[in-house]
């Protein structure tokens, strides 16, 4: 087990480093940070001076290592655009994104699991058809459009919830619904196929033959095994939500990390984009690692193999 964790941990770290260097190099070769800081129509001498002062004339690998060294000491650098430490910016925006990601994950679980279980228990029934058509439609609705429709319906026509912002818990209801809905098809389908597969397995037939019946069988035996892959996919979805609620945050004007990332891209704010991508990738990699470890802990076949 220890060597499994070590191997996966090293791989995770390597992935994070490669991706973060890739982003760094992309912006390094494609934009001129000195020009960004100086402004669009600054005189060339001033741009050159800034280039020297910030060390933008050094090779890309040197700059990357210097930046990474700072990150290990908790210093993400200084934002070109907002002129404040990136670490501070991230701390200010992280709360919104974390609350939104967790609450939308709850929404996904509360909708997808019951639907998936219901569909698997009675294949080809109306529950199954309803679940499948929900999945097909939810997959085809552009998420940003769903957000706008929900605003028109539940914030304007029937003003139950606020239109935008992130001040109170009421502001999080609609965004969490919209973001949560985007993960429903994947989680629902996986729950359904997983449970169907387990219900057809020999050991369930044995349990049935021994007299285990109904809910006891489903919840004690079958669901436990069927949910193994669902754990992984939920971790992946949470990772996407922590790093990718770009659209939802924009539609509902919430000051989270996704919106911060979009604005820093628009303003070529390399230190901020760079730090955010590193944090997103690390979060994602650590979450999937955690899911793998939970799965290995629950399922000895993975651990031993």
């Amino acid at each position: 087990m220890a060597s499994y964790i070590l191997r996966r941990g090293l791989l995770a770290l390597l992935v994070a480093l490669v991706v973060s260097f890739g982003t760094f190099a992309l912006f390094y070769f494609a934009t001129d940070p000195a020009q960004t800081i100086a402004g669009e129509d600054a005189p060339p001498e001033m741009v050159e001076e800034i280039r020297q002062e910030y060390g933008f004339d050094r090779p890309v690998s040197v700059q990357y290592v210097a930046w990474l060294g700072g990150v290990f000491q908790g210093d993400f650098g200084e934002s070109y655009f907002w002129k404040q430490p990136v670490g501070e910016l991230i701390r200010e925006h992280a709360g919104v994104t974390i609350i939104l990601a967790l609450s939308s994950l709850m929404v996904t679980i509360l909708i997808a699991l019951p639907l998936g279980i219901g569909a698997a228990l009675k294949p080809n029934s109306w529950v199954d058809r309803f679940a499948l058509s929900t999945a097909v439609s939810a997959q085809a609705i552009p998420n940003f459009w769903l957000g706008l429709m929900v605003i028109i319906l539940l914030a304007v026509m029937f003003p139950i919830f606020p239109v935008s912002g992130d001040a109170t818990w009421r502001h999080y209801v609609l965004p969490a619904l919209v973001l949560g809905a985007s993960s429903v098809p994947a989680v629902m389908r996986l729950t359904r196929t997983g449970l169907l597969e387990v219900l057809g397995a020999d050991y369930i037939r044995t349990a049935r033959a021994k007299g285990f019946m109904g809910y006891q069988l489903i919840f004690r035996q079958a669901l436990r095994n069927a949910l193994l892959p669902v754990v992984s996919v939920l971790a992946v979805q949470l990772g996407h939500k922590l790093g990718g609620s770009v659209v939802t945050e924009s539609v509902f004007s919430m000051n989270g990390l996704g919106r911060l990332a979009v604005e820093s891209i628009f303003n070529s704010d390399i230190p901020t984009v760079q730090s955010l991508i590193l944090i997103f990738v690390l979060t994602f990699v650590l979450l999937t690692l955690a899911a793998d470890l939970i799965n290995a802990w629950l399922d000895p076949r993975i651990r031993m193999g």
């Binding site: 982003t23 934009t31 439609s137 085809a140 706008l148 028109i152 196929t193 990718g244 891209i265 994602f284």
Partner: protein, 313 residues
């Protein structure tokens, strides 16, 4: 050398016999004909195919079908509601936008953009993913490990942010959007191609081709690849849907198709500012997107059901 048809599907036909429900197994027919026969009885596939035919028709004949030029502004006529609403005019069936451009014409022309991006990006992704998958599956070893690492990296990146950063850096145009979306959506192709290649590699007809003196490259392209066409086609349709949604999202956020092109996502972004008073500006392009994407998905699910009869998911 064996032809693809005889090699292709003994497996699929054999399995479809056990599949049971509503399916005519088509015993005695060639796999292609059997699949076609099953397709005729598949409602979802027919609906999806119908909507797509309509959209392709709209896109191809847009200049003759659209009642107005989608770019011509007519400011006195701006923000007209659809014709059946009070204040609407029948000349402008679906109303006009904030610059007085005919909304119906823009939606018809928008089909061109969505279809071009969907098909273009899915093709780019297919080329990358299938090539890498064939390489990894057929040759294995360090190449396989390198490709696996690449997949792990690709999956860990928040793909929307990466796409936005790339488009921002390279510039906004249809070509850039196609290549950037394609270059970030190849993982499905790769995973399926790789595992299918691993399985096919061990089969007799591959050994036969090798013994007849075909090079590894010839075997990979001429023997293995044709046997993957069904699965690749299914993924292709799903990726078309994903690419269409990605483009709409990008354009909505302002980093996709540049104004004044009639991208549906961009139209929603432009209509957003006045959506509380003119909700149709946001509702209509969204409905068009929804219809197209659901049609592509229905088609994909249908093709999977009638060709790849492994297991429904």
């Amino acid at each position: 050398m064996m032809t693809t048809d005889t090699v292709k599907n003994p497996r699929f036909v054999a399995e479809s016999q056990t599949d049971g429900e509503q399916v005519d197994t088509g015993l005695g027919l060639s796999p292609a004909k059997a699949a076609l026969k099953r397709a005729r009885g598949h409602t979802g596939l027919k609906i999806g195919f119908g909507i797509i035919l309509l959209m392709v028709f709209l896109a191809l004949f847009a200049p003759w079908l659209a009642p107005h030029d989608p770019y011509v502004q007519n400011l006195p006529m701006r923000l007209l509601p659809p014709a059946w609403v009070d204040g609407g005019e029948w000349r402008y069936l679906l109303g006009t936008d904030h610059l007085g451009r005919d909304y119906l014409s823009r939606i018809i022309y928008g089909a061109r953009i969505s279809l071009a991006i969907g098909i273009g990006a899915a093709t780019v992704g297919a080329i990358i993913g299938v090539t890498l998958g064939l390489l990894a599956g057929y040759f294995g070893g360090w190449l396989d490990q390198a490709v696996n690492f690449l997949v792990t990296c690709q999956l860990a990146i928040p793909s929307l942010l990466l796409i936005m950063a790339l488009v921002f850096v390279i510039g906004q145009s249809i070509t850039v959007v196609i290549f950037v979306i394609g270059a970030t959506h190849w993982v499905f192709y790769l995973v399926v191609t790789r595992s299918a290649t691993l399985r096919l590699r061990e089969m007799d007809f591959v050994a036969a081709a090798r013994s007849m003196g075909c090079s590894r490259f010839q075997v990979a392209v001429r023997e293995v690849l044709p046997n993957l066409s069904n699965q690749i086609m299914v993924i292709f349709t799903l990726e078309v849907a994903i690419a269409i949604l990605s483009e709409a999202t990008l354009s909505f956020l302002g980093l996709g198709i540049p104004s004044p092109m009639p991208s549906w996502g961009l139209m929603i972004a432009e209509g957003k500012t006045s959506m509380f008073f003119q909700p149709w500006l946001v509702v209509l392009p969204g409905l068009a997107l929804f219809m197209l994407v659901i049609a592509v998905n229905l088609l994909g699910d249908g093709v999977r059901d009638v060709t790849v009869t492994d297991r429904r998911s």
